[in-house]
């Protein structure tokens, strides 16, 4: 019952696997040591949670649709959990963005997801920048990503949609947020929205500048989530939100997170306009009131790194504004 402990473990797990985020290298995971939990969200949508990003699973008479595929070493275990819900073919996979904790399982799931009823390999949808980054040279001399893991149904326009298991599924591109290839996935009848790492309620948003991320884009993405979601009575429930990492949410939870990023943005813009250097900004602790909720002093994404990325992102914008 004491969810404080399990939440801290959850955060530690995230920070450890975040280490793999920046490059394609697959972390060494022993699947036997990993607990995957499948939970019903709403309608025909479920979420598979464990180490790595949350995996959204939609099931029905037509088979299985997925949002993200987690880490490669866990693909077999993940598919075993999915098979408990539905034995039909995996027909659609959407990648919310390029990072390994969300796309590492692509190639394995594409194979494991095929059944006798499969007409062909699953359609692996992603925004075109995901394909560009996966097919191009990898940073820090990391090995190229095998073609089997690349999206085979990339989209260029603001949205892409398809109809599956009696439900419209709409994919929205959110430019330059967490990365430049982010997608939101909205299961309309089930009224569930998967956000990828644009919304990660247990830590500051990772702004991956190297892959086209930005603070203003992140805020636009959060506002877009709030536009899409509709709460039930008294601002609770209604459209359910599956974050990239962390617990199940709804609009009200996204509003708190959006407010945090917006308020911090306003503070940093003011400091930048006053000509403060990055060191001066860090010394002023502009995120002190949120650090005890979202901050970290160790791991791949510390508070300082968030402030640094935001400062650079906003400085570039502020310069281009002039």
């Amino acid at each position: 019952m004491d969810n404080l402990l399990s939440r801290t473990r959850h955060q530690a797990v995230f920070v450890f696997f975040a280490a793999a985020v920046v490059c394609w290298a697959q972390p060494q995971i022993n699947p036997d040591n990993v607990k995957l939990t499948m939970a019903h969200v709403q309608g025909s949508v479920y979420v598979l949670m464990g180490d790595g990003g949350n995996i959204t699973v939609q099931v029905g008479k037509d088979g299985v649709a997925m949002v993200d595929t987690g880490f490669a070493p866990l693909a077999v275990k993940a598919m075993a959990e999915i098979r408990k819900l539905n034995t039909g073919p995996v027909v659609w996979i959407v990648n919310t963005h390029v990072h390994t904790d969300h796309t590492g399982g692509n190639a394995e799931i594409m194979k494991l997801g095929m059944t006798r009823e499969s007409v062909g390999p699953p359609r692996l949808v992603a925004q075109s920048n995901v394909l560009n980054r996966m097919s191009g040279p990898q940073p820090n001399g990391a090995p190229p990503i095998p073609e089997a893991a690349w999206p085979n149904d990339e989209y260029f326009l603001p949205t892409k949609d398809f109809f599956f298991n009696s439900e419209a599924v709409i994919v929205y591109h959110v430019p330059n947020a967490h990365t430049d290839g982010d997608s939101l996935v909205f299961f309309r009848r089930s009224d569930v929205l998967s956000t990828g790492d644009i919304f990660t309620p247990e830590h500051y948003p990772i702004i991956d500048l190297a892959r086209g991320g930005s603070v203003e884009g992140e805020i636009k993405g959060l506002n877009q989530i709030i536009d899409i979601t509709v709460p039930a009575k008294y601002q609770e429930g209604g459209t359910m939100v599956i974050p990239g990492h962390g617990r199940l949410c709804d609009e009200a939870d996204v509003v708190e997170y959006r407010n945090m990023v917006t308020i911090i943005r306003d503070r940093l813009v003011d400091m930048i306009h006053r000509g403060m250097t990055l060191e001066q900004v860090k010394a002023a602790k502009p995120t002190l009131d949120y650090d005890t909720q979202y901050g970290a002093t160790s791991g791949i994404w510390t508070t300082d790194m968030f402030v640094e990325a935001a400062y650079k992102s906003l400085s570039t914008k502020t310069v281009s504004e002039k």
Partner: protein, 293 residues
């Protein structure tokens, strides 16, 4: 002569069900018209909570549309407008008590307090304004534990309460009075548990109307605007200390200011005005305005 009241010592009261009217005989001005800016007294808050409150702009409730119909959390409800109805749910087959249910005036909020020993949901489960509550008896005192609470507030002047809080209550009925002890543990914003208690009076004639709430562009601002003061720029934080002659440090709250020995520390710095001029009366909804005397 009121000796008749003494007649027979009380039998234990064990029935919480019924209609309960809140008594505002403690902290009336803060609980009714609302707290003043910069008043963080009696709260064991940390620096993060203080900065969140210092940078809070009260227009946020009108400008952020999603805040307009945001209810009080289960914990704040016990301090807020708390006309309360409590009823039992009994299992038909076993005739056992499954749950207590409450309905509260503010935002028609309803809670279920499970009494059947069911576990709390896992950490990843959705959080709600009223959270997930289970209750156990301790003699005739009901002890309730609530988890899975959405982000809310400790006070309506910006002092936050996080979604990592755990909320414990102890319900005690004495004659026609209900006392509820509330204990808020919040690792994000409090340095120690906040323990308070509030009281209700049995009121069978009470009729809790419909609260109701509709969204509307109360104070139109561009979408995504979140009114806030920049750190260090809130000009109103010293008003409260000035109005009541309090040393500014004492108004900043914190556990140290809540223990008796703090009285000596500030004794020499307290310079009250000659006469009360703000909220001098304030015991009910109808006599609690700035100038009510």
């Amino acid at each position: 002569m009121f000796a008749a009241l003494l007649a027979v010592p009380a039998f234990a009261q064990v029935d919480f069900t019924g209609e309960w009217a809140p008594l505002y005989h403690e902290d009336g001005p803060e609980r009714l018209p609302g707290p003043e800016l910069g008043d963080y007294t009696e709260l064991p808050i940390n620096a993060a909570a203080r900065m969140a409150a210092d940078t809070y702009d009260a227009d946020r409730i009108s400008v952020v549309p999603e805040y307009q119909c945001r209810p009080h959390g289960a914990d704040y409800s016990m301090r807020g407008l708390g006309n309360l109805r409590i009823w039992q749910e009994i299992d038909q087959n076993s005739q056992k008590l499954i749950a207590f249910h409450t309905h509260m005036l503010a935002w028609d909020s309803e809670r279920t307090i499970w009494m059947d020993g069911r576990p709390h949901p896992p950490a990843y489960a959705p959080h709600t304004w009223q959270g997930f509550s289970t209750g156990v008896w301790d003699g005739n005192m009901l002890t309730i534990t609530t988890t899975h609470l959405k982000v809310n507030y400790l006070r309506r002047n910006g002092v936050p309460r996080s979604d990592k809080a755990i909320f414990t209550e102890h319900w005690m009925r004495h004659g026609d009075y209900l006392t509820v002890v509330t204990v808020i543990e919040d690792p994000v914003y409090l340095t120690e548990p906040l323990v308070r208690s509030d009281n209700w009076s049995l009121d069978p004639g009470q009729n809790i109307g419909i609260f109701g709430c509709e969204y509307a562009p109360e104070v139109p601002r561009p979408e995504g605007t979140v009114p806030a003061h920049l750190p260090g720029n809130n000009p109103y934080l010293r008003e409260f200390a000035g109005w009541y002659g309090l040393p500014y440090e004492a108004t900043r709250g914190g556990a140290e200011t809540m223990y008796p020995e703090y009285m000596k520390k500030i004794a020499g710095e307290y310079h009250p005005p000659a006469k009360c001029s703000r909220y001098c009366k304030c015991t009910s909804l109808f006599d609690c305005n700035l100038n009510s005397k």
